[in-house]
Amino acid sequence: MVDTEKKMKAAAKKLLSEGKVDVVVGFCKGSRKNASRPFFAKSAADAELLVWDGFCTANLAAFLPRLFERPARPKDGWKPPRVALTAKGCDGRSIAGLVRENQVPRANLVIIGMPCEGMLAVQKSGSAKKNETARACVECVSPEAADADVRIEGTSRKPAKASYGRVKAFAAKSAAERWKAFTKEISRCIRCNACREACPNCYCKVCFADQRKPSWVSPANELSETVAFHMGRMFHQAGRCVECDACVNACPMGIDLRLFTQKLAADAVELFGFAPGVSGGDVPMLHTFTQDDTERFITDPEEK
């Protein structure tokens, strides 16, 4: 990894000093134990601060819609920035989705493809579970970003085969049991929106949960409202979730959202042959329609 880090720094430095990009989105050393944190390098000197280690967990693609957003009052001659991003496989899958959904001008983005051995699982307390690979990485089907403009050589994890064992075991339970498990997990939510903000797919200018006229979700501390928020957010992830666990890692309450978003991913793969950034082509899944698309999940949700 030391060698990988050196090569990455050199590549970032080259891009910045040659004026090819304005900013390199990467990681620097964090202030917490066992943490690296998102970092925007804007000069060759900044590039020296970039790190690549087992704690580069965040999905950096979440910053792209923000960086490319046209300001409310743009200065004369405003142009979108030129951005480079050190991409793991998950960041790469998200980038593919954002490009497909016209949120990222591909010509302004330099993807620095990183070799990814998987990030380490770190608990909120910063302790324990050392040297254990994060769940999202163990289940990662494409540890290297596709479509990289600059490729940093190194060893990556072997891609996992999507099995969705946990989802299937969960789906085999009765609707009542599933509801109980779902609401129990969700009941800890404090509606801080960390899951939403950490998610590269949640780039809506105004989230449905923030709308007031009409108000889709009441701020009342009631389970039904919290469920409405999460269901709304999750359904917007159908065929879009790249299973990176950014939402899970961001949640201060340790809510395991993966089981639920992964169900959507599993359905996208199994019913529509669509894994965002991996398979299914360049058109967003929900923008396509074929006559043999299944609709049984609506009419017969209990059917196996």
């Binding site: 202030s31 917490r32 944190r37 307390s125 910063g126 701020p219 501390n221 961001a250 309450m253």
Partner: protein, 333 residues
């Protein structure tokens, strides 16, 4: 009143005495760890934990509460919610934060009836810290591992026994009424408590809060705020977990006919968005400035204390690891 002691093996007797006062909130174990929950006569309070993920302010200023009910033209005040008679086991940082929030909600002229009612109903027994968390810095934020401020009684766990000191008249009255439970502490026990607090204090890295307050009063350029908020995601993890953040929004829930007071967060893009759609703090740098200035400049100006107690929750929870300790060091650079 002098310090009194209770042997750990008798802690259930203490729970029973507390339960005689009414609903008791205290440290209980669930599948996520130790949380502030309802203690029952069967539960022996857990005393080994760093801190609760959620701040104790929520016991007195809940995330959502109805302040009025309405049906057609008929508007009435909402009934008082569930009040706790005892809040036990909160850490000294949360107790100190409670005293800060109390000053916002209640002064000589005005008292928020909801906060006042809950605070007056509760006997707050804090529990001194026996270890320091990795992001703790209370000793640099007006508190300490055995700081008593904000609590009615300060308790300390020294292993085989719990020691209690009354802080307020309410606390003293409880200890006196239940004096049969307690014994005199030994000199060794008192020394152990001193040593424990000193050890915890030593483990914390110092932050020069005073210098930061001075520097912030002069203001910092926009570029500074843009810089420190660059990787901010505009979520509310820091504010919702903060024991002193007290901003709220009033929202009408038409469905149930309730005017709700709900926690709000200055880091949300919607925080001060006006009905016209105009947002006076459209940039996250401006929102970050608000959060830091509120705690470390406006609060010292208005209340003569920083509105940060050094609990470290925001440091631990931030998905981008934006660290308030580094921000404070940065303002003096």
């Amino acid at each position: 009143m002098a310090t009194v002691a209770l042997d750990r093996k008798n802690s259930k007797k203490l729970t029973a005495a507390l339960l005689r006062l009414g609903r008791v909130r205290g440290p209980v174990k669930d599948e996520t760890g130790v949380v502030l929950g309802d203690l029952t006569s069967k539960s022996d309070p857990v005393l080994e934990y760093q801190n609760f993920t959620l701040p104790a302010k929520r016991e007195f200023f809940p995330q959502c509460e109805a302040v009025a009910k309405f049906e057609g033209d008929n508007v009435r005040e909402a009934a008082d919610g569930d009040r706790a008679a005892v809040v036990f086991g909160i850490r000294p940082c949360d107790a100190l934060a409670l005293s800060h929030v109390e000053r916002v909600f209640c002064d000589e002229k005005y008292a928020d009836p909801y906060f006042r009612g809950r605070r007056d109903a509760a006997l707050v027994i804090s529990l001194a810290c026996d270890k320091a968390g990795p992001s703790c810095f209370c000793t640099s934020a007006g508190g300490g591992p055995a700081s008593a401020k904000g609590a009615d009684i300060l308790s300390s766990n020294i292993g085989t026994a719990l020691l209690f000191d009354s802080v307020t008249a309410k606390g003293e009255s409880f200890l006196k009424k239940n004096k049969g439970l307690f014994r005199k502490p030994t000199a060794a026990e008192l020394t152990k408590r001193e040593k424990q607090a000193a050890d915890v204090s030593r483990r914390m890295k110092a932050v020069d809060t005073a210098a930061a307050v001075k520097s912030l009063a002069a203001g910092r350029p926009a570029a500074f705020w843009e810089g420190i908020s660059e990787t901010c995601l505009s979520c509310g993890a820091c504010t919702f977990l903060c024991p002193t953040c007290h901003c709220f929004d009033l929202r009408d829930d038409i469905g149930t006919g309730a005017r709700l007071r709900v926690h709000d967060a200055c880091m949300f893009a919607t925080f001060v968005t006006e009905a016209s759609g105009h947002n006076p703090r459209a940039r996250k740098g401006e929102r970050m400035r608000q959060r830091v200035m509120h705690k470390f400049s406006y609060a010292p100006e208005n209340y003569d204390t920083v509105f940060c107690v050094g609990c470290g929750r925001c440091v631990e929870a931030c998905p981008s690891n934006i660290d308030i300790r580094e921000t404070l060091a940065g303002v003096t650079e």
